[in-house]
């Protein structure tokens, strides 16, 4: 019985962890290209879910069409955000930029509240909701979708950053912006790219998680913070260490809620965050292991 329980906690943790990882990678891509923490990242997760809902209900699109449509809309919003809020800044000191992203997130949340109202909305699962038994534990088909899509996105990320010109250029920006500019890389364009990628990824995370957790105008705050936690554990790398950070966070949360007390579930995430910041600010896996992309 005890083993069954632990298996169930771990499986639940893995699927929530995968979501944290996706959001966390969004944080670190922007951080590495621009040096800012984009606190509006969580809002793109919220937008992903709600725009899909509108595509399904207002435009009557089938699910397979609604998803790319929603990702496209969110990417456009991400581009607008970068163009209108980040780029015009004359003296982009980190503190200014952080405050702007927080302001942006409040604005996006407020607009979403006006457009979609304060109610929670449900999105149908991608392929039914008949539970699948694994050992003594059960998961839903949606969990498999989450794990598979996260895996695919991470592989694409890897290919992009290591095997395309613009991916390599973005990595160059992350190592040294001025040097990258001197060798002819358009740093501003790379910043824009980083916003495109991370808002699209945020949207995807929001869409694949919505059938399980439902969505509302204010889901972005908590998911954003958890994603930020994952990125910190991974030392702000956009590679595998943030993914491990996310999965670790998900599993610890789930085990903590099950074995210690459910009241401390969120506390566990933030205690880990604080411990990492105090003891290993370079991330759990140290500087040598983490690839800063």
């Amino acid at each position: 019985m005890q083993f069954d329980q632990i298996l169930q906690y771990s499986l639940s943790g893995l699927s929530t962890g995968a979501i944290y990882a996706l959001i966390g990678i969004g944080f670190s891509i922007i951080y590495n290209a621009t040096g800012i923490i984009n606190f509006a990242q969580g809002e793109f997760v919220m937008l992903g879910g709600l725009v899909t809902l509108s595509c399904l209900e207002l435009l009557q699109l089938p699910l397979w069409a609604a998803i790319p449509c929603a990702v496209a809309v969110c990417t456009v919003i991400g581009v607008l955000f970068e163009r209108l809020a980040i780029r015009p800044l004359r003296q982009p000191t980190p503190i200014n930029l952080v405050i702007i992203t927080i302001g942006g997130s409040i604005l996006i949340r407020g607009l979403a509240m006006l457009v979609w109202g304060k109610d929670t909305h449900a999105i149908p699962p991608f392929s039914g909701d008949t539970p699948i038994a694994i050992g003594g534990a059960t998961i839903l088909p949606q969990h498999l979708w989450i794990l598979a899509i996260t895996l695919i996105i991470i592989i694409f990320n890897k290919l992009y950053f290591y095997h395309t010109i613009s991916g390599k250029a973005m990595r160059a920006c992350s190592y040294n912006r001025r040097a990258a500019g001197l060798v002819g890389i358009d740093v501003r364009r790379m910043v824009l790219f980083s916003f495109i990628i991370s808002s699209a990824m945020g949207a995807v995370a929001g869409i694949i998680v919505a059938p399980l957790t439902m969505t509302a105008y204010d889901v972005g705050v908590m998911l954003g913070l958890k994603g930020f936690c994952a990125a910190i554990i991974g030392g702000m790398s956009s590679g595998i260490s943030t993914v491990i950070g996310g999965l670790l966070l998900g599993i610890l949360e789930s085990l903590g809620a099950g074995l210690i007390s459910s009241g401390y579930k969120d506390a566990i995430a933030f205690i880990i965050l604080l411990l990492i910041l105090f003891l290993r600010p370079q991330g759990l896996f140290g500087k040598a292991d983490s690839e800063r992309v």
């Binding site: 329980q5 929670t120 909701d129 539970p131 509302a216 809620a257």
Partner: protein, 379 residues
């Protein structure tokens, strides 16, 4: 020139006439609702219902020839704001009674103001401490949590279920429910075998439910408002938990069925009678009020009337009845309110007295089950 003078006289005469017709000044009633902010799901239907019923009363000629005038302020769920606005209602608007606020926290903050200024306050929030102990000027229309808990435990006792697991949300509503569940369990011979909580924004409760599954309870009682309970219903279905699941009256709206989908089937919960108005037997005293409220709300706002709106509807009607009996000052309205007997409203049958300013009994709730995406009354 001549024409102009004529016009002027005509206008003057019309004005004169109209003032004589409406000589009796309207009776001003204040209202504090959390129309925006986190408790907007309470405040919005409350404001809508209060406005709707005041309009209806005025359209049919007012009460004893006098119109009612509603002054509504939005507290945004903030206790400090609620106190300021209550003072404003009393000092500037000179209202004779106040309806609201929407949440227990705000109500507790406003009570000292109402007591000091001697203005009757009819709260729309559920906390039992509002009227326990009884305060001279304070009444309430929302049902106590204790009644909902009692309704579930009665059912469990009847079906000889003695071991329950509870899972409550970690906010004011859940904490109050948890307290009542623990307090009343012994009275019904029920033991609580596991006691878990979840955060209002949590998105996965399989960990808690796995733990509960290990506790081998005969029933699971979950206390929360949307969306948490819908997630729990889905998670329980995923884990294949066959233990009967009970929810609180916090989710007795169609929204819950919509969110939980298939997973909602078979869940039982105590609910006010609004959602099952058309299924009540004709002998039910509340049926007439309920049907009128549901129909009106549908007509005005194209939405389903709910309990929260009902609390405001009841409050307005209670004041109306007091005015009809000749009360038009704050003190007279208070005295008449206390004499209210057998008023069949939306929340239940109200019987206020010197010792009871909550006024409702266990019949305020019915136990309903979700079947085929609709409510069915459990006999």
């Amino acid at each position: 020139m001549n024409f102009k003078v004529m016009n002027f006289i005509l206008a003057a005469v019309t004005l004169l006439f109209s003032t004589t017709v409406f000589a009796a000044a309207p009776i001003k009633i204040g209202a504090l609702f959390a129309v925006t902010g986190p408790a907007a799901f309470l405040g919005e239907p409350e404001r809508n219902s209060a406005k709707m019923v005041i309009d209806e009363i005025n359209k049919s000629g007012g009460v004893k020839g006098r119109k009612l005038e509603l002054v509504v302020y939005d507290t945004a769920g903030d206790a400090t704001k609620a106190v300021q606005l209550a003072t404003k209602l009393i000092k500037d608007d000179k209202v004779v009674a106040i309806i609201g606020p929407s949440t227990t926290g705000e109500t507790m903050a406003v009570i000292p103001v109402a007591e000091k200024e001697q203005i009757p306050l009819i709260s729309c929030s559920a906390g039992s401490k509002i009227t326990d102990p009884v305060k001279r000027w304070v009444f309430k229309t929302a049902q106590n949590d204790a009644l909902a808990v009692g309704k579930i435990f009665e059912h469990l006792q009847k079906n000889r279920m003695t071991k329950v697991s509870i899972l409550t949300v970690s906010d004011g509503f859940g904490a109050s429910g948890r307290e009542q569940l623990k307090q009343q369990a012994a009275k019904y011979g029920i033991s609580i075998v596991s006691d878990d909580t979840y955060g209002p924004k949590d998105t996965d409760m399989t960990a808690q439910l796995t733990k509960i599954r290990g506790a081998h309870a005969q029933a699971i009682i979950c206390w929360g408002t949307n969306p948490g309970p819908a997630v729990i219903a889905k998670n329980a279905r995923q884990l294949g938990i066959k233990t009967p699941l009970f929810m609180s009256h916090g989710v007795s709206s169609k929204k819950f069925i919509e969110l939980a989908g298939e997973a909602a089937e078979g869940i039982k919960l105590p609910s006010g009678k609004v959602v099952v108005a058309d299924m009540l037997s004709g002998s039910d005293k509340q049926k007439k009020s309920l049907m009128a409220f549901v129909k009106d709300y549908q007509k005005h706002y194209r939405a389903e009337g709910d309990h929260f709106g009902g609390h405001a509807w009841d409050a307005v009607m209670l004041i109306r009845n007091a005015v009809e009996k000749g009360a038009d000052t704050a003190a007279a309205i208070r005295d008449q309110l206390e004499k209210t007997r057998n008023f069949a409203g939306i929340g239940g049958s109200f019987n206020y007295s010197g010792q009871d300013h909550a006024g409702l009994g266990k019949d305020a709730f019915v136990l309903v089950e979700i079947k085929n995406k609709d409510w069915v009354i459990v006999k």
